[in-house]
């Protein structure tokens, strides 16, 4: 097989806080191929954003990569000089965020903010960059793009701002776009339009998309590959059909069962009892054990290994392991 665009290779991230060390990501491994849509799912606080930010080199200052690495087209990204990553950001790798209202600078116009990467990375002259910015705003479906370019963020709605963010992130035709819960702050209809737009652009630009979401309905509709995280670890990953048809890990099964209405958020899971463990002191065994209804004695004696379940599908769970090798 040809080389993946992005490889997470046993990435672990620690965050040093006053209260202690948060192990926000542990041994996270998965890869993204060119043009592929990968969905990263899991409850709040399970390390999705931290994983994405380490890929962008935008970890908060208290966080550091403790071990493992991320590779971009085969070359390591982690541990590289800041300048190397800066050149990739906004150019090859782009990212949009959860809150479009706060993600844009309130004192600069939309246009002024979109031309920045064009001038920085593509060395366009300000005039040409402005023309391109207006074209980009048009492309993401904003009416009167010339007027939008001259507006300030507070003059636009959340949906329009997220479109503007998308225009900005697309400006240098990135190879990968990370969308970190891009519609959580928007209402349902707007949210559907934004996801449609992302899907259309992902196809037309042939870029890879790392979509972080709570919404399994969206995952089913958009993703090629699914990575399920729990308490900083990847507990199951596989092609979207395999995950939805044959979920193996009890947590994945719980997530799918707790999906009453398509489009509903997964902030709380009615069918998975208990809460996410405190990331400050995670157990040395399967961290889902306290909530798992299939847990056995063995589950509290160590970390389950990954079990391969056929084409690209794997899961880390003792029960799955037993079933497979029985």
């Amino acid at each position: 097989m040809n080389q993946p665009l992005i490889e997470f290779d046993r990435l672990s991230v620690e965050i040093h806080t006053k209260a202690g060390i948060v192990r926000a990501a542990q041994d996270v491994s998965f890869s993204i191929s060119a043009g592929q849509t990968v969905a990263l799912v899991g409850e709040s606080g399970c390390g999705k954003s931290i994983s994405a930010l380490s890929l962008m080199g935008l970890l908060p200052s208290a966080a550091r990569v403790a071990s493992g690495e991320i590779r971009y087209q085969g070359a390591p990204l982690t541990g590289q000089p800041r300048e190397t990553l800066r050149r990739l950001r906004g150019n090859d790798l782009a990212m949009i965020f959860q809150e479009p209202m706060s993600a844009l600078n309130p004192v600069l116009t939309i246009g002024e903010q979109i031309v920045e990467p064009l001038i920085k990375h593509q060395r366009l002259r300000p005039k040409a960059a402005w023309v391109k910015a207006v074209a980009l705003l048009d492309k993401v479906g904003l009416a009167r793009p010339d007027k939008i370019a001259e507006s300030y963020p507070h003059e636009l709605s959340g949906g329009m701002l997220q479109r503007a963010m998308i225009a900005m992130s697309m400006s240098c035709q990135p190879k990968l776009l990370i969308a970190d819960e891009p519609t959580t702050a928007l209402d349902v209809t707007i949210s559907a339009q934004i996801l449609d737009l992302l899907q259309t652009l992902q196809k037309s630009e042939q870029m890879a998309l790392l979509l972080i979401t709570h919404d399994l309905g969206v995952v089913a509709q958009m993703a090629d590959f699914v990575v399920v995280m729990y308490a900083g670890r990847v507990v199951e990953s596989g092609p979207v059909r395999a995950i939805f048809k044959h979920p193996q890990h009890p947590y994945t099964q719980g997530l799918l069962a707790a999906r009453p209405v398509p489009g509903a958020r997964l902030a709380r899971l009615p069918s998975i009892r208990g809460q996410v463990p405190n990331p400050m002191n995670l157990p040395e065994y399967c961290s889902f054990a306290e909530r798992c209804d299939q847990a056995q004695a063995q589950c509290r004696q160590g970390q389950p290994e990954y079990v391969s379940l056929g084409a690209m599908h794997q899961s880390a769970c003792f029960v799955v392991q037993k079933r497979e090798f029985a």
């Binding site: 962008m56 935008l58 200052s61 800041r82 800066r86 050149r87 990739l88 950001r89 906004g90 150019n91 782009a94 990212m95 965020f97 809150e99 706060s102 993600a103 844009l104 600078n105 309130p106 004192v107 600069l108 903010q113 920045e116 990467p117 920085k120 990375h121 010339d146 007027k147 001259e150 300030y152 507070h154 963010m165 900005m168 992130s169």
Partner: protein, 331 residues
């Protein structure tokens, strides 16, 4: 064409906004003048009562001369009318017009305050922003320590310490005053002499003011750097310099505008303790003297002057704010 159109509309809106704010300042100013007048008019005792050498008859004559026997509202209107003609009143103690009395002293105070202000705003901006960019670094910790040390120093002690070290022990700088006694230098020699005399009081004022302001700048910049849009700016691959100065600093400076507006009256009010200890001929001196002598015309004029500056400072801050923050509605 569209751009020109928008700029034009913005300009018209801004002009109307400024006009409205200026008009709104007028009743405020009138209110301040009335309040100031009433406070002084109804304070028991005045310059004439305070003089025990006067016979009752002479005192009554003097009161009639100064119009102090008239009802208060008539006196207020009279005062207001004179103010409108640029006549701030007549000092009873010095027997010269208030403008003449205060002019030179206010200028001296302004000289001292303006130089200190430029310095401590500059220092606070630089150090506060640097500390926020590297929070909890060695620099930040040392700065925090220095700020608290400077802020907890009593003013007069600091002044005396500086005078003892730099002026008495080392003899590098003059002990006080604005010029050496009996000096009649002219031109650049004069400027140089005044500058030398300013060094110690300026150091004092900078040390007193820079600390608190540094904390403001640090807090404001720290907050701005934690904003989501700063992360977006980094995600675009902008240089860290651009992220800090173009994106974070611009937002961090917004709350400082109001603070700068409040500095306007402080430029002219005189730093009483510092001026006294360094024997700087500023308005702080005169203020205390006239207070002791109950020279009300001077006190009233000076208080009104500071009130007007406070209103003006606020007005200017509002206008600057409206110019630089697009979120401010121009209505």
């Amino acid at each position: 064409m569209l751009a020109a159109d928008i700029t034009g509309r913005k300009f018209t809106a801004m002009r109307a906004f400024v006009l409205r704010r200026v008009l709104a300042a007028i009743p405020l100013l009138l209110g301040a003048s009335l309040l100031i007048f009433l406070v002084f008019a109804f304070t028991p005792g005045d310059f004439i009562d305070g003089n025990i050498n006067l016979t009752a008859q002479r005192a009554a004559e003097l009161k009639a001369l100064y119009g102090l026997d008239q009802p208060w509202w008539l006196r207020y209107l009279h005062w207001l009318e004179k103010l409108l003609h640029g006549d701030l009143g007549f000092s009873m103690q010095y027997q010269i017009p208030v403008t003449e009395l205060l002019g030179q002293y206010v200028f001296n105070s302004f000289l001292l305050a303006s130089v200190s202000m430029v310095l401590y705003w500059g220092i606070a901006l630089l150090t506060g922003v640097l500390a926020a960019v590297q929070p909890y670094s060695l620099f930040d910790r040392l700065l925090t320590l220095a700020v608290f040390a400077a802020m907890s120093f009593p003013v007069f002690f600091l002044c005396l310490l500086l005078i003892k070290w730099a002026a008495v022990d080392l003899g590098w700088l003059p002990v006080g005053g604005m010029l050496a006694t009996g000096s009649d230098t002219r031109g650049w020699a004069y400027v140089h002499e005044v500058a030398i005399h300013m060094v110690l009081p300026v150091i004092t004022l900078v040390m007193l003011q820079a600390g608190g302001l540094t904390r403001y700048f640090r807090a404001s910049m720290f907050e701005a750097l934690a904003m989501d849009f700063v992360r977006t700016a980094r995600a675009k691959g902008l240089k860290e310099r651009t992220v800090i100065f173009k994106h974070a600093l611009r937002n961090a400076l917004l709350p400082m505008i109001a603070l700068a507006g409040f500095e306007l009256p402080a430029l002219f009010s005189g730093a009483i303790i510092t001026e006294k200890l360094f024997n700087w001929p500023g308005v702080g001196h005169v203020h205390i003297d006239t207070l002791a002598a109950r020279d009300y015309p001077v006190l009233m004029a000076f208080t009104l002057f500071l009130a007007a500056l406070t209103i003006l400072g606020n007005l200017m801050a509002d206008i600057v704010y409206a110019c630089v923050d697009p979120r401010i509605r121009l209505r």
